[in-house]
Subunit: 429 residues, 2 copies
Amino acid sequence: MAAKKKTAKSAPKNAFYAQSGGVTAVINASACGVIETARKHKNKIGKVYAGRNGIIGALTEDLIDTSKESAAAIRALRHTPAGAFGSCRYKLKSLEENRREYERLIEVFEAHNIGYFFYNGGGDSADTCYKVSQLSKAMGYPIQAIHVPKTVDNDLPITDNCPGFGSVAKYIAVSVREASFDVASMAKTSTKVFVLEVMGRHAGWIAAAGGLASDDDIDLPIVILFPEVTFDRDKFLKAVENKVRKYGYCSVVVSEGVKGPDGKFLSDQGLRDAFGHAQLGGVAPVVANIIKDGLGLKYHWGVADYLQRAARHIASKTDVDQAYAMGRAAVQFALKGENAIMPTIVRKSNNPYKWEVGKAPLSKVANVEKMMPANFITRDGFGITKACRNYLLPLIKGEDYPPYRNGLPRYVRLKNVAVPRKLKGKFEI
Amino acid sequence: MAAKKKTAKSAPKNAFYAQSGGVTAVINASACGVIETARKHKNKIGKVYAGRNGIIGALTEDLIDTSKESAAAIRALRHTPAGAFGSCRYKLKSLEENRREYERLIEVFEAHNIGYFFYNGGGDSADTCYKVSQLSKAMGYPIQAIHVPKTVDNDLPITDNCPGFGSVAKYIAVSVREASFDVASMAKTSTKVFVLEVMGRHAGWIAAAGGLASDDDIDLPIVILFPEVTFDRDKFLKAVENKVRKYGYCSVVVSEGVKGPDGKFLSDQGLRDAFGHAQLGGVAPVVANIIKDGLGLKYHWGVADYLQRAARHIASKTDVDQAYAMGRAAVQFALKGENAIMPTIVRKSNNPYKWEVGKAPLSKVANVEKMMPANFITRDGFGITKACRNYLLPLIKGEDYPPYRNGLPRYVRLKNVAVPRKLKGKFEI
């Protein structure tokens, strides 16, 4: 009996890792950082179990045994976009509202000897992670919960920036530069305005990245529509007209979250087809139509959608490095006994760009959204300031190309072997 | 007098080069091939004058003196997308219909001692080039006209493929792979279908490239809507449903040119906003709505538009090499006294991929459109066959990354110095 007790006590706790919310080009680089670092400390961390489809995997006891993956496969996560274990959009309610879910989590954690909880996500996930971190206190289950920051929206507080954002920013900056070269070539007899819709429901960080396409090397006419700035049709048309008059053409970068004076999304035009059926459209065609009606200029429009956040082929090296570092730091903090925190990126200098790993208490991260500072948007509301440029530029620096085979990137797909279930009965979510 | 005559006679003829129609990621690589090769034969070709905005530059005597550009700047054209001299959509009428235009061309050519005409474009441009090649016969002006093939649509006849297509194909294949990874991650609780609209008004070559995203390494569920196949709502919904049932998610690649049973473009839905104003939409949101209505699945949609054909950052090395080779071959053919031809790409073998330069008479190229062979589309109408894959794969092989600075590709912008005008009076187009 004593021997058995001793074994149980000395067996290192396992870790649970899950991906949450919209995926990015580099969230798997964070997973790589977590797993590779944990594997270096097998005396303290047993196995890393990943949640299949995020926290749902924990609730339904659908765990993936990452120890079944080779070192090469785990290494390849660093250059593979999207969520290798599956993600989900699922926010835990408060302990008061749904105690059943927390009891279930504890049941699963206990059954699989899980003592570490690494949750890789954005604002909502930080909230979930914070709630889990409180289980020790609230329900007497010992667990260390560390949040690994991830979001293309770049809206987490305290951290200088969020892994995932730099790569989207690079994709948008590169794409706007390329499309601007295209429309410049065509402008004499054809298209004069190109409109690109980008992500960012609440904050204009991604739209701002479009402004990087123009710099001291290459001056390009770009008009940005930020969700932070109420859309003003006349001012917008004037801005486009001025660019076209000066350059002969113009690119417009519009955030999906732009709202009109009525407070409604500009994309929400109540479109109906010939039979009167409601149709969903993006904001890019709406803006293109405004240009056609208001200025009579020929246009093209694009919607980057998932392409922008999945574009691992043109990921920012800074972003990949930071995503990995956040995963590694999460484990290192856990090994130091930390709980209820999130590793952060602390900017030390812009030029040369220097940063280091910091940490933030989850109580201050959960449910706080970081908006663009007012001084990042030019006074006319259509461009980015020097301060914004200085902030953004280091985040898109460096290329980190994946390996190719037959002309296509070799992204890894894991075996994702299930951990044998130990609990009886199903948990419905 | 005799001495002067001799000088005039021995001065090598200048060349005219122009870019036409929609630009591509590699049309400048062809320009690079033309100019670098011409520079090596200064005894036979004087200067290369580029048309500012294509053939319009010739008609309006708005010529660019490429000899003012450094060797480094011309070399950088190889990695710069879009049309460095400006392109145009302008088709010469027949000699009978608009003799004035041809007389004007001869006037400009004569004033600038132009004896070589290199025209870089697609089907319409081949027609224009062919007409110019006949000026010797029809109007007694000695000129050698060579067409340099270019089109993302891959629809020129005789040549195995067209420079510009391989890079779009690579971009679409890579993007569909990446977006498929993304939607796979989200499918459990969120998006199950991703729809991507791609170019190709008449032929499904670009849509077909989306099929490459799935291969023996990485099996992905992809449904392709070709312009060659009449859209059948029920069959389409069934195809998507089957993929979602088997894989949990699905990517749809839809060509902008897909038509319904009524023969109208699927994108032409007669959309109206809340005020009854007609709105232009793409085909992607239409297909997304069909999925929502028919299957009730959550979807996302994107429209690649100019991003696909300007994406020099992920250009195919095969494509860049071939684009350059076509420009070089055009000059070499001219030096051999050829007229009214187009260099072509002749495929010698698939594996290993081998190709060489051939030539085609313009009389057989002009106004002929190459469609997808029927045996390239699977019997169900939604996928590509092995034969199609074997054809496409070599065209996307290899990466040819541009140089970067501050996280952005360093694309060149030429000085584009105008050649002093010699003619009086303006020519209105």
